[in-house]
């Protein structure tokens, strides 16, 4: 296991551990509240504000997501917010997608200069977050009982998702959603929940609370695949992972408790605001790179 003093960062020793615990707490609240792993927010903070190297951040945050998502899935399962059938189908597409995405990241790294690579990754990140915020904000006027796009898709076979209360959902469509999520997640080194939650709402047609619980389940499975891939390259530090998990274990409980009390419409608006805020943060970092280089 990589010792604490070998982790390159702006802080060291107990200060670094304290900051990681606090970050874990904050991200844990988001995990319980919105069904996202939190890597989309955690990665930029760990790289820009804490100064940890990018490969170690990506691998460690994926391993951390396993723990945070496991707590969240267990909590949401008791509230019957996880549809196991759609979770397994989407994960079946997401896991090969994540492996493909990690390979795509390698090709981009080899084919582009370091500065252009950074610009491309951050621009992609920004685009995904703005799309997410727009999809969710657009959904604020939608009633939970409305049908999703996959129920209209004429691509057989069609399946009934009893746990989600949906009938006639296109199976290849569901697998394709998983593949796209996995490819994006693998390329950006995130769990993919930030994009999956809105897709489950708009494309699959799930209710907000079911989309949150099911998205967490898929994030858990795809993070396991991503961690194995990054762990093979030695890009995971269990000290970083455990320090963040101490905070997130408490944060997830707080987030899931708030989620159960909040109205679906309010949940969607808050989610859109968090995604937009992260997009602005990433855009500021992108502007900094463009000005410097």
């Amino acid at each position: 296991m990589m010792p604490l003093d070998q982790i390159e960062a702006f802080l060291s020793g107990p200060y670094l551990v304290a900051v990681l615990v606090a970050l874990g707490l904050g991200v844990g609240v988001l995990t319980g509240l919105f069904g996202v792993g939190g890597a989309f927010l955690l990665n930029p903070i760990l790289i820009v504000a804490v100064g940890i190297k990018e490969p170690l951040v990506i691998g460690s945050s994926l391993s951390f997501t396993i723990g945070a998502a496991a707590t969240g899935v267990a909590r949401h399962m008791r509230s019957r917010n996880v549809d196991l059938q759609s979770m397994v189908i989407i994960a079946a597409g997401a896991i090969p997608g994540a492996v493909l995405g990690a390979d795509m990241l390698g090709w981009l790294q080899q084919g582009l200069s370091p500065t252009i690579f950074k610009v491309v990754i951050r621009a992609l990140y920004c685009a995904i977050l703005v799309l997410t915020a727009w999809l969710v904000a657009r959904e604020s006027n939608r009633k939970d009982a409305d049908r999703g796009l996959l129920q209209h898709l004429p691509l057989p076979p069609h399946v009934d998702l009893k746990g989600a209360g949906l009938t006639g959902v296109s199976l290849p469509g569901l697998l394709l959603v998983g593949l796209v999520i996995g490819a994006v997640a693998g390329t950006l080194g995130i769990g993919g929940g930030v994009l999956l939650m809105p897709l489950l709402l708009v494309v699959v047609g799930m209710t907000t609370h079911k989309a949150i619980g099911t998205s967490l389940g898929v994030v858990l499975l795809s993070s396991i695949a991503g961690t194995a891939k990054h762990g093979l390259k030695g890009n995971v530090s269990l000290i970083i992972v455990l320090a963040m998990l101490v905070g997130s274990s408490i944060g997830v409980q707080i987030g899931a408790a708030i989620c159960e009390r909040l109205h679906a419409r309010k949940l969607r608006r808050y989610f859109a605001a968090v995604a937009l805020l992260t997009a602005v943060m990433t855009a500021a970092d992108l502007a900094g790179i463009l000005i410097r280089d």
């Binding site: 691998g59 961690t227 455990l242």
Partner: protein, 63 residues
């Protein structure tokens, strides 16, 4: 215990190569199993705390 099993699958490997592979596999497994066990244990502990708090509530409040 693991090394002979790996040896029968991948014949031609030296004992050093085998132990390296086994150690790497154990290392990767720890990156998955440790956070997973932590997450599930944390949920179990919180559930017990909530049950305990509910059981010790004033009967008037429980109504």
């Amino acid at each position: 215990l693991c090394a002979p099993a790996v040896c029968t699958i991948v014949s031609g490997w030296t004992a050093e190569q085998e132990s390296k592979v086994v150690l790497k596999l154990l290392e990767i497994a720890s990156y998955i199993v440790v956070p997973l066990a932590w997450g599930l244990a944390a949920d179990l502990i919180f559930r017990q705390i909530l049950r305990w708090r509910y059981a010790n509530r004033d009967p008037e409040q429980q109504k």
